[in-house]
Amino acid sequence: MPNDQMETPQVEVHAVRELSQSVHRQFLAGLKKETRRVRVTQFVILLAFFALWELAGRLKWVDVLLFSYPSKVFSLLWTKLLDGSLLPHVGATVLETIVGFALGTLFGTALAVIIWWSPFLSRVLDPYIVVLNSMPKVALGPLFIVGLGPGLLSIIATTLSITVIITTLVVYGSFKEVDANYVKVVSVFGGNKRKVFQKVILPASFPAIVATLKVNVGLAWVGVIVGEFLVSQIGLGYLIIYGFQVFNFTLVISTLIVIAIVATLMYQAVSVLEKKITKHR
């Protein structure tokens, strides 16, 4: 835009615009190249790992009985996929994990709401929460089995024991961190504690709750696999223990690979959810 004091010739303006566009193009091209290099390197590492493993197995550098090798692992997975004996195990474990982390987040958040609501109760419960949080919850496993029977309930109870308290601590922490001025906005309009919670505390803590969901996906897997080690007749944890007992380590490693894939997918799904919820902040 030419102004009266310093008139810039039209040609020069055009040249400058051209320059800034070409710089931007170069920047984008550079970025794309960098991303491609990262992807290629990642792929090469994966490939090299499997190749080396395969080689080590076939040339007997490692004990095949213990460490197997990729072609054996993948052919086992393929067979089990085709004969339909893998999917029920995946299904059972995924179901238990989803129930575990959903309920864990729900109960943990509910407990956080209760202690936020009553500062008295918060002070009363504080030492109990500290003890429960410090305790290795997996050690409660035998109690769950005798109390709830060797089945689904015990597995979910194990998972909940791991996820609930940590969720409560994180969510309660985020309730308390909400800026008091937001609360003031609601209070000056005559909003009571319930309104304050509904309109401010809960929506403001939503990102924190979703973040605990992410942590709980990981913790729920720990709970479910340990639970299945202890009691189950079905599930990926059962497959690992079974493979271990019959000394079929190809089965153990195959199961680990399935767990890695499914757990990653679940984690990604929660990440997508988180992005959607926190879009405007």
Binding site: K184, V185, V188
Partner: protein, 258 residues
């Protein structure tokens, strides 16, 4: 009853585990209906505490406050409160933010919703109604906060340094907008600020407080020539600088002592 607000012998003590602090000592003043009054003073003179007591957010340790002849027992829709920053909820759209007061008091009808949109329109914000706060500038956000406060149609507006977080230019524009709006709607206002020139330019009367404990030091009536034009114009009126100097002297001594 011609008094919109009547503060009578209010004393406020804050307690912590360590000590009890006297924040306000026997403060009394009244605001006439439609009047614009400023409270100014250095930090520690209990300005925000006075607002919180009038808004019914805290009960005074001693003394009482009446709004439109009724003793304040808690927050009510009679009193609107504007904070130092907008504090719009980032997860709500502009229109939903502006309507939250109605939502909380349970009076959000279709007509009221239309009124809120009309108010947003008056502030030049209608086309942003579906935006989120993060997409707006600081001045626009504070204008939304003004709409939010006006939406419940309060008789009295408490303004707690509402321009302090804004850049100078935006602040001048908003001062004019607020004075113009409150005059048109015949609202009573109590502004808390530490900016002397803002206090003179906007108000009919300036109350200077002194700190530790907070109490009234002196009151200044703003002459008609300064109080009638909008704040921006008011700053250019003869007598403005003289009044500024008088008020400055009132709290110059104590700021040195701090």
């Amino acid at each position: 009853m011609n008094e919109a607000v009547n503060v009578k012998d209010v004393t406020q003590v804050y307690v912590t585990e360590q000590r009890a602090t006297l924040a306000i000592q026997q403060m009394s003043f009244a605001i006439r209906r439609g009047e614009f009054v400023s409270l100014i003073g250095p930090s520690g003179c209990g300005k925000t505490t006075v607002l919180s007591i009038i808004a019914g957010l805290i009960a005074p340790t001693a003394g009482s406050v009446q709004v439109a002849g009724e003793t304040v027992m808690g927050p009510s829709t009679r009193v609107g409160y504007m904070l130092q920053q907008d504090y719009l909820f980032p997860w709500r759209t502009i229109a939903d933010n502006a309507a939250i007061g109605l939502e909380i008091s349970g009076t959000l009808t279709k007509e009221k919703k239309a009124e809120v949109l009309h108010l947003l329109g008056e502030m030049g914000l209608l086309r942003f109604k579906d935006y989120y706060p993060a997409q707006l500038s600081g001045g626009m956000r504070q204008r939304v906060a003004l709409v939010r406060t006006l939406a419940t149609d309060p008789e009295i507006l408490l303004l707690d340094e509402p321009f302090s977080a804004l850049d100078y230019q935006t602040k001048l524009q908003l001062e004019d907008l607020v004075v113009e709006t409150l005059r048109a709607k015949q609202k009573t206002a109590l502004l808390v600020t530490h900016d002397i020139s803002e206090a003179i330019a906007m108000s009919d009367r300036v109350i200077v407080l002194e700190p530790n404990p907070g109490r009234i030091r002196k009151q200044f009536a703003v002459p008609a020539a300064i109080r009638e034009p909008l704040p921006f114009e008011a700053r250019e009126q003869p007598g403005f600088n003289a009044l500024f100097r008088d008020i400055w002297q009132e709290f110059g001594g104590d700021t040195d002592a701090e």
